[in-house]
Symmetry: C2
Subunit: 159 residues, 2 copies
């Protein structure tokens, strides 16, 4: 139900033409139902990042990952969910430093929930700000496209 709600809101938010939100939505929903342990290649594929990066995240103490008898990494559902979260935060620009801090708080127990909440609120504002900046750039870009595409008027040499 929570997932349904999420997807609904996402679909509402994606009012523009839809080149490829599909993959992203898959990442969101599919990841939620992960139940089987996964290999590094599978997780990398799911998240759209490289195995190198996954190992790097582990070295950075963002996740702990068990090994099988051969010493190969085994990603359980909990770890995968954390990685989905981390990947999304990275994608929206949260620095590694902050994620390391956040994860340290998570691992430190429930007492740190207020601070985590603060971080999330701040990050939410940062995302909103970025979206505003992008909107501005988008409008400017579209304006320039219209200028070039329509009448290549006196503005054409401005930039």
């Amino acid at each position: 139900m929570a997932t349904d709600d999420l997807v609904t809101r996402i679909l509402e938010a994606l009012d523009d033409g839809d080149p490829l939100p599909v993959e992203a939505i898959h990442r969101l929903t599919d990841a939620a139902d992960v139940t089987e342990p996964m290999t590094i290649a599978e997780v990398a594929d799911l998240l759209g990042i490289s195995p190198h990066t996954l190992r790097y995240y582990e070295r950075a103490h963002l996740v702990e990952v068990d090994r099988d008898a051969n010493g190969h990494r085994v990603y359980d559902a909990h770890t995968v969910r954390r990685l989905v979260f981390l990947t999304r935060m990275r994608l929206s620009g949260m620095p590694m430093r902050d994620l390391q801090h956040y994860i340290a708080l998570v691992d430190a127990g429930d007492d740190t929930v207020p601070e985590r909440l603060d971080m999330l609120l701040e990050h939410r504002d940062i995302i909103r700000r970025k979206m505003r900046e992008l909107t501005l750039s988008l409008v400017a870009t579209e304006h320039k496209i219209a200028t070039y595409g329509g009448a290549a008027g006196p503005d054409s040499r401005l930039s």
Copy 2:
């Protein structure tokens, strides 16, 4: 009139709560009426970047800037407008490489308009994609905020 149109569309686009689009809109509109030559400090201030970065952009051949009798940079309206454009493109993630290419095309004359248009179209798509990614991250972040803020349920230890 073009500016009015732009601002109108920007205001429409900014439907969310408005912490600080003001400064950005100022950058857009104010920059359009630049008529006096400016110093490097003034331009840096206008664009919200450092004089160091402005010199760096010049070294990278994104702009050419005249000097006064003392060898100090003098930014004319044309150059400032180009820098406004460049800054916006940088802010929306266009790499230096691409901007260098774009500017080379601009300086190469009108024959390159189609290629420039292609670049702009591609960049527009990239911006849209980024906005979709940000939307997803925003929804996820808000969801987590709601979870933490409301009932710190069984999800609280997930991440």
